[in-house]
């Protein structure tokens, strides 16, 4: 059986240099967006999803675990942050911290339940767990069920940056995204990342070398969940609400789709994938449910025709890891 991310290319020092160049280009491009007349709300949203997809990719691309419930981190952090900001009146930085911490805790708890199963079972369990959470949030008083938490105050970050100014908010979100991205990049290229890769490649062998693989997968899962939660907390400032949409299974599906389109197990793939999918939703919004159909078609096409995804195909052509 061939694994999902079978043709990952080896990471050489040269590849790492290439990656830094691409990263710099990406950061620069994103930094000038507000001056181009592109609707910043759209890009901010895309950045949140890009971070989310990167976090998800850390787990599937490097840990070999396909979570079909990653929306639960997005939604949980969103709700907790929103509640902290609106009801407790916390400052933005604390709001983000609390939300992200909630996601980390959720990762710990759900990881404990799910991490011992692999393959499709892991996917189904994470999906079911996220649905469990969905129903809890549907009924819990603090989430306001269907109505969601609305009209969240954006406040001043660190007491200085006025987040209700789109420009300020944009750069805050961008910095958040880049920081998250770099952390993921570092994780992939860390001693821990090496072990993770070897587990994905051949878990029985890693066990036989003395690695307690469950613990590594658990850490990867928690990291991934925490970063996904961070994305969720950031998103609260962009959308100014927290709602059930973000914990619904279709959101989990979208996360998978973004990563698949960009390229599972590629570094930049999830970012590209997130932008492609968000842009598509944006421009096809007028076509109603056809968006869903198109997403389905993309899913099918990716699985049947280009399993490597956009960036993966490109990397394969260039024989570089991206």
């Amino acid at each position: 059986m061939s694994a999902l991310t079978d043709d990952t290319l080896p990471i050489t020092p040269r590849a790492m240099r290439d990656e830094m160049i691409v990263f710099a280009a990406m950061a620069l491009l994103l930094a000038i967006v507000p001056w181009t007349g592109i609707y910043p709300f759209f890009v901010m949203q895309a950045l949140c999803f890009a971070l989310l997809a990167c976090a998800f990719n850390l787990l599937i691309g490097y840990g070999g675990l396909l979570s079909f419930g990653h929306a639960m981190f997005l939604g949980t952090a969103g709700y907790v942050s929103a509640h902290a900001l609106k009801v407790w009146g916390l400052s933005p930085e604390l709001g983000i911290l609390v939300g992200t911490a909630a996601a980390a805790l959720l990762g710990l708890v759900t990881g404990f339940i799910s991490i011992r199963r692999q393959g499709i079972y892991f996917s189904m369990i994470t999906l079911a767990l996220s649905q469990l959470l969905y129903f809890i949030y549907l009924q819990a008083p603090f989430t306001h069920g269907e109505d969601g938490i609305q009209g969240i105050p954006q406040g001043h970050l660190l007491g200085i940056f006025d987040l209700s100014k789109p420009m300020v908010l944009y750069y805050v979100v961008l910095v958040g995204f880049l920081a998250g991205f770099l952390l993921i990049y570092r994780t992939i290229n860390s001693p821990f990342g090496e072990v993770l890769k070897s587990i994905r490649e051949n878990e029985p062998r890693a066990i036989s070398l003395g690695y307690k693989t469950d613990q590594y997968k658990m850490l990867a899962y928690i990291l991934s969940g925490t970063l996904a939660g961070f994305a969720g907390s950031l998103k609260v400032f962009v959308a100014q609400n927290a709602s059930l949409t973000d914990v619904h299974w279709s959101m989990s599906g979208e996360i998978v789709l973004m990563t698949l389109v960009g390229g599972l197990g590629t570094i930049f793939g999830p970012v590209v994938g997130a932008f492609v999918i968000i842009a598509m939703q944006q421009y096809l919004a007028g076509f109603g449910q056809w968006v869903t159909v198109i997403q389905g078609v993309i899913f099918v096409a990716c699985v049947l025709l280009f399993r490597r995804g956009l960036v993966g195909e490109l990397a394969h052509l260039l024989r570089r890891s991206l």
């Binding site: 079978d6 043709d7 990952t8 290319l9 080896p10 952390l183 570092r186 994780t187 290229n189 860390s190 001693p191 821990f192 990342g193 090496e194 072990v195 890769k197 070897s198 490649e201 051949n202 029985p204 062998r205 890693a206 066990i207 036989s208 070398l209 003395g210 690695y211 307690k212 693989t213 613990q215 590594y216 850490l219 990291l223």
Partner: protein, 258 residues
């Protein structure tokens, strides 16, 4: 080796008693008492389905025994999780080749070295901290004759080389005892000779328990042979003795051998 009284208890690095594995009423391994002498090359032979691989799986904890005990270096490891057993220096190699296909040979070995020296959970550090393992990794690759493959992804290496790489990876753990499951399977002549020489060489430092169907390898390498049939120990001894044993002839070698 065991000369003085102090070492006598330690003469056998691995001992099992009453080791049994039952699969829903079927006994794959039954009441096996195995004693592996420190520093020896011990071979486990027997017909297909005799329970050799199951035995290996039990020793390395990939399977849970239904009954019986396993003692390794004086520890009772019967209930120990697999990773802990490996940490004690009891390491296996696999019947099917077990490498990390998309890591280079060097990285393959490094993953094993890294485990020994901690820091494997450090996700915030650059992996360049792993470079300190490179000299030792190169040394190990050299030992098994893979120097020129250091930067080749394992997937691109020829079959016999993968096997050698796997042994190098296993050696990186600095084990005391190695379990080799059919190390010669799927190899051509030259490879068999090379690996046999390698095994002979490393056996100076390590205890080796191996399963092998290739009788000439068994005959040449092993100090002692245990014959399993139907999950049970049929006989034990050196090759010369066993090849004369009627029961062994009947169960394994066949009437015509000897």
């Amino acid at each position: 080796m065991a000369y003085g009284g102090i070492y006598l208890a330690d003469e056998f690095i691995l001992e099992t008693s009453g080791l049994t594995k039952e699969f829903a009423g079927f006994f794959a391994v039954r009441d096996v008492a195995l004693k592996v002498r420190r520093g020896s090359i011990h071979a486990l032979i027997g017909p297909n389905g005799a329970g050799k691989t199951t035995c290996f799986n039990l020793l390395t904890k990939f399977l849970k025994p239904s009954a019986g005990q396993i003692r390794y270096k004086g520890h009772d490891i019967t209930a120990m999780p697999p990773a802990d057993v490996a940490r004690l220096g009891l390491v296996r190699s696999f019947q099917i080749s077990a490498v990390f296909p998309h890591l280079t040979a060097l990285e393959n070995v490094r993953v094993a070295l890294q485990r020994q020296h901690g820091s494997s959970f450090d996700f915030w550090r650059s992996k360049s901290v792993l470079d300190r393992f490179n000299p030792r990794a190169h040394e190990l690759l050299n030992d098994v004759g893979l120097s020129e493959f250091a930067n080749t992804p394992a997937v691109e290496m020829p079959y016999g080389r993968k096997r050698a790489l796997e042994i190098a990876t296993t050696l990186a753990l600095d084990p005391e005892m190695m379990l080799l499951d059919e190390p010669m399977a799927g190899m051509g002549h030259e490879d068999i000779d090379k690996i046999a020489a390698l095994i002979k060489r490393i056996s100076a430092k390590y205890t080796i328990l191996m399963v092998e169907h290739n009788l000439s390898v068994v005959a040449n390498l092993s100090d002692i042979i245990t014959v399993l049939t139907r999950g049970q120990v049929l006989a034990e001894g050196n090759y010369a003795d066993l090849s004369k044993d009627e029961r062994v002839k009947e169960a394994y070698l066949g009437a015509g051998h000897g």
